[in-house]
Symmetry: D2
Subunit: 423 residues, 4 copies
């Protein structure tokens, strides 16, 4: 039965958002492609905002999942023990943690990004006995009150309807031209008259997705880690969007050489787009009272199954190398765009498969994204003024897929900068 | 491969909780039964804390789900339009809302109970421009900071690590002997010197699950609704645990004859135990800015599929009548227990399939639950001191299943009250 | 030079308030009398809202003060040592504390009621490590954010412009008909699921002045003290308005037989109407860091001089007995009024010299107060709806003065209830 | 009777502070001199932390005050009208406001600095409907919760016992070397993703007293004002310490050429060291509800009398010029000290009579201050580490008095830097 878009207007809350940018009814998807009810094919450079790093409906995961369902495997288990959960734990330890010399305890905080962030903030406050958390300009960490308190976006903050408390925002890397923003952070911390208390934690994304594809320099991250160490502040890396290979390594901070105290993961972790999240905790910080943080869907066993299957991508470095090679292609394409189309007033931003072009021309990125959709490419915008169009293809995309996407983007740009851009 | 329980101790955070009460590795489940890795069979009177009202791995839903997965249907769609989502919306409207003369707008706030509660609180504050929310003693609404602020449990509140704000707790029905608790509520509201401001909303469960199986009288709920109307306060019913048939009707408040302004639903809504939640909003209150509340897993299409399938149970009143008939059996069993075993010092509590016995004997309910587990029955305790053992079978359980469960419970009680109870 | 009332309209902020009820320019005052610029004489049944318990410009204090000024005694000393301060400390100890077997440490928190309340709240939180404070309906403790958080009046609370936090309001004695309000308080405290944490302190007035002249029964106060002891909660008595003899004894709680942990005093403490306040602290709780709470006017030496002089009233029990005898006169007068004028629908409230009549007739108390002013009596109204006219004569008033005041009040009542009362 | 210092130890709270630095009992004071009980004379370079700008017991004010008291003038009037209040209002308008083309409404918020700050914050929030206030590093605004929230000192902030909320600290002028701190402020305000909302107000001192004698450049203040204008943010100047001539003009911001929306004044405003404060409000912002902010000691008539008398100093520019000339002497003296004694590692800071030397040598400033006290000079230290010794003589001090003070300071320095400085 083909549906009418009106159903959404009639029955769904006005809060719906992406459906406004991509106004069609999707019905099927595979790899880097999606199809709508009219049979139109789309190349997906959005990838569920980072939740589909392995593309849609990965064949191997699908087989495992269907087999599991067919066998009446446990579907929902809260935080009871299940075979599927045990297998995920073991495999995550064997494939991800051990080879990286990491020994984090794994917490299932509820199956979404905001759940893992809330659990991280709670634990950091419990461990340190302090209340404040430092977050960074244009950080995005989620929509529940705890996570929203560390999120920068003013529209979303206002949505809280209450003042957001117990947080201090500090400037992210490159926030003010020619200023070393960490000098500023340090000055506030070392001065006992600064009005800023030593916080329980700092929470930071290594590359800010929603905030406009801002990539912090590795050097900045290392200095941040050393500041945290100096003051006994816990370092929380929110790797919900940048993690699971999106920037080229499993954890986004690997090449920076830092070791966070707590790591938040979700989005692509299940591999298949199923709700799933973990909080990784430095073992000596794992001082929760049993049940102190709970939730109904901590035991989403379908996700355990697909997540375990997805870890096969990381058994050796083949996948990682492929991702890095294709990243290079993307980077070259974006650089070429900026050079070829000066009317874009564009700047290439990001790292790995988490990149985009920030255009100084008001509204242009949105127009490019809209045009691309017409031409069969799904691509989001980001940043406080939606000034960045954001390339987020699945990491598993083929070179051919990438190139087709590039063509559509270039065509979209061309069609918009040829004619005078007005608002 | 058979797993060892040690994996959980070694790799999972100490926050894990249910696994401590039910220490075995589950592997398979169907209807009201679960099996562990040793092949031991369990009767499930826990039902995922209310997330498995239709039992495990319902056959029809399973078929729909597998068929959908096999066809490469959209798995993850954020809040974009998909065929599966359209079908859920239409069916929910046709089967649930319309026949009850309801016209709520449907919001997908993220796939967990705490997501829907957070969205409800945010919207109530936005709509009214007020900051405070009144919640009730022993209410349970979730673990993220907004939801935790309206949750009563002190251990969980302390877990926040920060003072919880913008909320006022009022006494639930029957909270103080011989006092009409709503007189107390009204006095605070009508007195401009009371220190309690007119709140944005009141959030309440019609039967408190985690709080100890306290059922508010329908009369109390009606008076609460009229107080809300008098003062322009929004009434939010958190039907996450009591909804989807648990108390005998789809919405738990139907027989009270009230009409909430906002309804929070999750747990059994997907039918199959998959993460899923909706917030139902009185149409004129649906004033969100697009994207003002968002989240990665709002478009869990597997859950759309099973949720739509589950609604078949509600197409006519057959299922509802069956549930109510079996409720009567449960109620009679519990009454008999209290009478037969005065050593229990027990009180029957609850409504429908959300019932239990509160025992005044310190620690006894926990012992009964532990004994029952030994004997092959999964049954949780609840209440501030775990003083209630809680019968939460799937609504779809057969009479035979119920009776087998009853036998185990009686045997457990008998084994504990025969010998002198000591702590 | 005679001033014009216009200067206040032209130059002073609209926040001014009492000048609207008593619209004349006062120029001189002595004992229980005041005179305005036109030479009109007023009997003062207001006494600076309790700041002039010894009447205006007490002759002995005046002589001491002028002598001190003439000798160039230290006027302002912050918290440095001065002769005047030492004398006050010694005399307060000798005349007030020792004879009552009290050994409080004396803190000078800044010279106003709100300063002492803020210091008490801060100390209670520091000592206990808890954040919440329980206050009571219709309590009044001051206008700075800490004190305002424990004040009941909604208009004044809204004036904060921010949500007031870290406080819980509980019902004062007699708040809900036929409910023992301390049963509620205990229920909330003993139930770990109540949503109300064990607070750092409870702050309470023994008789609520601004809140409508509500006097808590001594029995209620004793039970409150025992609840505090049971739970390790500090008991703060705010004796700013009820203290210094206003209810018949120096401290308002003496006859209740309780012993608060912290006492807040101000208003009449200087004896002469000069800004002055102390916080009395149980010695083992006096764990401030030096300078942790400070303020410029903690060393108001003029007030030390008059306060020390005022303590002569308390050297033996003569004054106390006089006050209690005159209280009886006031009480009989009020009782007679209620009986003689049933149209008042009046209820006598209060204790000692802190009494009034609450009239159920909307607006009547304000009219009586306005009429009395015309006839030469200054008398305030109180309560959430200004429903109480409040007799607050100086404690030093003569019988003759009292009688003159009574005559004016009766005349005012008569003039208003003879003619039909309309609003 | 000569008192013993023990009385303070025995009876007064340990929170006392200045008495520890200046351990003697003062008994008499005149102009720039104080005497203790042993008859020892001190030169006062402390001036009540800025509350005694006209010196001790000014002869003219003293005469007016005694005359007023002798005539039984109103002492305490809440916010009723009195002759003394009318005279103050008129004279403040005639001598201060009108000649400077200012038309502020005058509010009496209670007689202390923290009262005026609290009233300013409340009004700014009410007027704008916003909750946040921006304050600056090392700002000092008072000890009640509202004022403490905008105060930088971490020891004092911790004293609150609760998280301080609804405020954001921004860097004061020169806070980070080579960073233009207002660039940060602007960047945060203009970026809708910064996490910092447009605040109700900014509150700032033109010269920070407690914070370490940091003087903001006039240019910085002007840019700050323009930022406030651009964003519709109210500019509150806290002139409690820097005002009333301390920096050379009546208001500290006059020479910067800015016009604040709200001004907080206290300390030297009464002229005589009596508790007194006003809040000056741009007329169109004066939207208080009558009584929305109140307090018992808003009508301290003794202070009205001396404050009115003190305004004679400002009737023409004689006094101002004298102050500025003597400022020059002080500045030259300090510069000489820094040059002559390089061991000080000193930096001259401040403006007008609000100056000092910041020494990089840990603990040295405290030692200099202690030595000076021995030698008969009262001089405080300031700054987060007490690194500044602070010259705060009365503005009325004679050249001879200044020179005597200078000699003692130089002798103190010399005695400490000659011998090796160790900690």
């Amino acid at each position: 039965m083909t549906q009418d878009m009106k159903v959404f207007e009639n029955l769904e809350s006005v809060v719906r958002s992406y459906v406004r940018s991509f106004p069609t009814i999707f019905t099927k998807a595979k790899g880097y492609k999606m199809w709508d009810e009219n049979g139109k094919e789309y190349i997906d450079f959005f990838a569920g905002a980072g939740a589909l790093n392995y593309g849609h409906n990965d064949q191997k995961m699908k087989e495992k999942l269907v087999e599991y369902i067919m066998s009446d495997g446990i579907t929902h288990s809260l935080d009871m023990a299940s075979t599927a959960k045990a297998e995920f734990l073991n495999k995550f330890n064997d494939v991800i943690l051990k080879p990286r010399n990491l020994d984090y305890k794994i917490m299932f905080p509820g199956p979404t990004g905001t759940n893992t962030v809330e659990s991280a903030l709670k634990l950091a406050r419990k461990v340190t006995g302090r209340t404040d958390v430092i977050s960074f300009t244009n950080g995005f960490h989620g929509m529940t009150i705890g996570s929203l308190s560390v999120t920068g976006n003013s529209m979303k903050r206002k949505g809280a309807g209450i003042p957001l408390q117990n947080t201090v925002t500090m400037p992210y890397d490159n926030y003010v031209d020619n200023h070393d923003t960490l000098e500023y952070v340090e000055r506030f911390l070392e001065d006992s008259g600064s009005g800023v208390a030593i916080p329980a934690a700092m929470i930071v994304e290594t590359v800010q997705g929603e905030g406009g594809i801002n990539a912090a320099r590795f050097e900045w991250l290392r200095k941040l880690e050393s500041i945290c160490k100096r003051w006994g502040i816990l370092l929380i890396i929110d790797d919900v969007q940048a993690g699971v290979g999106r920037t080229g390594t499993f954890f986004s901070f690997e090449r920076a050489g830092i070791k966070p105290d707590i790591i938040c993961m979700s989005k692509s972790l299940s591999g298949y787009g199923l709700p799933f999240a973990v909080t990784l905790i430095r073992p000596d910080l794992d001082i929760w009272t049993p049940g102190e943080h709970n939730g109904t869907f901590r035991g989403n066993n379908h996700a355990f199954i697909t997540a375990a299957a997805s870890l096969d991508y990381w058994k050796d470095d083949t996948f990682e190398k492929e991702v890095q090679a294709k990243s290079e292609m993307i980077y070259q394409f974006l650089t070429k765009m900026v050079e070829t189309y000066p009317e874009l007033k564009g700047e290439v931003r990001g790292r790995g498969f988490m990149v985009g072009i920030a255009s100084e021309v008001d509204g242009l990125s949105n127009k490019i994204s809209a045009k691309a959709f017409e031409l069969g490419l799904i691509m989001e915008t980001a940043g406080p003024k939606d000034e960045v169009f954001k390339l987020f293809p699945p990491l598993t995309i083929s070179e051919e897929g990438l190139k087709k996407g590039f063509e559509i983007i270039e065509e979209s740009i061309k069609s918009l900068v040829k004619e005078p851009v007005t608002n």
